[in-house]
Symmetry: C2
Subunit: 291 residues, 2 copies
DNA sequence: AATCAATTATAAATATTATTGATGGCCGTC
DNA sequence: GACGGCCATCAATAATATTTATAATTGATT
C-alpha cells in the first residue's frame, strides 16, 4: 500500500462519494477510482460496495479505515519528528511585484494561514525579472510577476488583471473629472519609472499614449511608487499607475480611471514546476481558487 | 512521503550503505539514491551525512527512523486488519509441467515457506498451454512452462534446463550400457506422448532422432508418465523422457543418458507482469535466486 | 603526492505508472 | 420509462521511476 492510496481511501470512506473525494483531493475522479482499484487488487478484497447510486464500506473497508488513518498519522508524525529535530519548519518565501504583494497578498495570506498555521511566510517585494531569477535560484518559492516565465521548469498561472489609472495633483484642471482620456493628457508632463526598472508598465503606458496619437512627454523618471506620488503631489507632472496604487489616498492627489479603454497590467503566479514542498502547491491552489 | 520512500529510508538507515540497501530491496542503487534525494527534498533537510566512504544518519534522520518504521508497521497492520476482516489470506496458485512441480517445486516451496509462512500455496499439475491460459485467466498466479508466453502482459524467466534421457526395459540389450546414442535406437519401437499433448517434447525427440538419421518408429502413444514407464517396463518399446522422470526408479526399467549430445528441455516461470499481489513477485524472486 | 578500490552521484534512455478528459452504462427516482 | 447523477472504462498524455553506464569523490595505501 502506498501513502497516496491510503489518503485516497480515507477521503472516499469519509465522503462515501468518489466525485467529492476526488474534488477534496484536487484530482480527477477516474484517477481516484483507479487508485482504489489498485489498492483493492493488492489487498485481494473489495473495500467499497458501490453502485452508481450508493457507496458504502465493506466490512474489510471498515476495519481498514481506522488503521489506514493511523498509518497516515504515523507517517505525518515521522515527517514532523524529522523536521523538529532539524529545527526546521516550513518556510515559504513569497515575492513579487507590488500589485500582488501589497494589493492581493494580505487577503490570500489570511486564507492560507487559516488552513495551514504551521507555515511561516516571508514576503519580499521584487520586480518580475529578479523574482523569476530568485525562483530559479530557490531564493524564492512563489513569485508574483507581470511576465510569464519561459523557463520550462517554472510553472505559472494567471491571477488577475488590473487597469492602469491616472494620478493627478488635486489642483490640476482635470482633477474634477470622472475620468480622463489619452487625448486630454497630450503634452502633460509625466512622472514614470524608467524602462529598465519597470519594462511592462513603461511599454504599456507608451503604447497606450502613442496609440491615441499622444507623444509621451517624460518630465521625470522615478522608480519608487511613493516618490512618484509625491512628485505628482508636488505638481511636477501626472502619472499612470496600476489601480492598486490608489489605495494610497492623499489629499493632494486624485486617481482617475482612463476613459478610452486604458491599458491593463496582469499578474501571474509562478513556482517551480515540481517543487517537492507540498505547501508550495497548496499555496498556489489557495491563490487560484475562486474567491 | 510515500511508504516506498520510507521503506527505502529504513533499508539505508539499517545498512548504512546505499548499495547493500538497494540489493536488499531488489532495486538498482541509483533508483534508491534518487528516492532518498526526493524524500530529503520534500522534508527540506538531509537525512544522511554521506561521502563515498561513509554513510551516517543525521540527527533528523535518527529522529525519523523509528517513526518511519512505525509508519510502515502501521500500514502493514492496516492491510492485515482488512484481510483479517475479509477472512482472506494470501493464496498463491502455482501450476505447471511435471518437471517443475514434481522436480523443482518441493525445494522452492520449502525456501518460500521459511520466509513467508502466512501464504497458502496450491499446486496444480498442468501442461504448458493450459497453464498459460489459466495464468491469463487468473486461475493461476505462477506457471512453470516449457514454452515462453508471447502475451505481453505475461512476464517470464528461464529457470532451468534438463537433459532428455532414454528409458529401456531392464532386459533390453542396451540396458547394461553407460549411455546410448541415437544411432543405437534405430528401429527401436517408441512409446511417447502424442504431439498434441506434449508438443515440445514430441518435437524435441523427433528432431533429435532425425538429426541423427534415425526415423522415429512410434509403436504406441501414451500421455501419462506412469503409463509410459509401465509400457516400457512391459517391453512394448523404449522411451525418451526428461531426466527428472528417472526419480521413479523401478527394477524393470533403466534410465540411460544420451551419449551424442541429446536434447534438453527448458522450464520457464511465468506470471502476470504487473500482478498486484506482492507475494507473486516474492515467489518469483525465490525461484530465480541462485542456489 | 599519486594511485587504487570502493562507493555515491549523475546522465540518458527506457519503462512504468498515474492522470486527464471524454464517454458509456447503470441505478434509482419522478 | 425517461432522466439525471455517478462510477467505470478508454485512449491519450504526462509524470515518475528505473536501469545501465559512467563520472566523480573519498580515504586508504604505496
Amino acid at each position: 500500500m502506498e501513502f497516496k492510496q491510503a489518503r485516497i481511501f480515507v477521503a472516499v470512506a469519509e465522503e462515501l462519494h468518489f466525485g467529492r473525494a476526488a474534488e477534496r483531493l484536487h484530482m480527477a475522479q477516474p484517477a481516484l477510482s483507479a487508485q482504489i482499484k489498485h489498492l483493492e487488487a493488492e489487498l485481494g478484497l473489495k473495500l467499497f460496495e458501490r453502485t452508481t447510486r450508493r457507496v458504502s464500506l465493506t466490512r474489510a473497508g471498515e476495519a481498514f479505515l481506522p488503521e489506514a488513518k493511523a498509518a497516515i498519522a504515523q507517517a505525518e508524525a515521522a515527517v514532523a519528528a524529522a523536521r523538529a529535530m532539524a529545527g526546521e519548519h516550513d518556510l515559504l518565501k513569497i515575492g513579487g511585484v507590488d500589485s500582488a504583494t501589497a494589493g492581493l497578498l494580505p487577503r490570500i495570506v489570511r486564507r492560507f494561514r487559516n488552513r495551514n498555521s504551521a507555515v511561516e511566510l516571508k514576503i519580499f517585494e521584487l520586480l518580475s525579472a529578479p523574482a523569476l531569477h530568485d525562483l530559479a535560484n530557490r531564493s524564492l518559492d512563489i513569485g508574483f510577476v507581470r511576465i510569464r516565465p519561459k523557463q520550462d521548469h517554472l510553472a505559472s498561472a494567471f491571477v488577475f488583471t488590473e487597469p492602469v489609472v491616472a494620478v493627478l495633483p488635486s489642483d490640476h484642471a482635470l482633477a474634477g473629472e470622472k475620468a480622463v482620456a489619452a487625448s486630454e493628457l497630450g503634452g502633460e508632463p509625466l512622472v514614470i519609472p524608467s524602462r529598465s526598472h519597470r519594462p511592462i508598465l513603461f511599454d504599456v503606458i507608451h503604447d497606450y499614449l502613442r496609440g491615441h496619437g499622444v507623444e509621451p512627454n517624460i518630465r521625470q523618471e522615478a522608480n519608487e511608487r511613493h516618490m512618484i506620488i509625491s512628485m505628482v503631489a508636488a505638481g511636477l507632472g501626472i502619472s499612470l499607475v496600476p489601480e492598486w496604487v490608489s489605495q494610497f489616498k492623499r489629499d493632494d492627489v486624485v486617481y482617475l480611471p482612463l476613459a478610452d479603454g486604458g491599458p491593463s497590467v496582469d499578474v501571474h503566479i509562478a513556482w517551480r514546476q515540481n517543487d517537492p514542498m507540498d505547501v508550495v502547491h497548496e499555496f498556489v491552489r489557495c491563490v487560484l481558487e475562486p474567491d
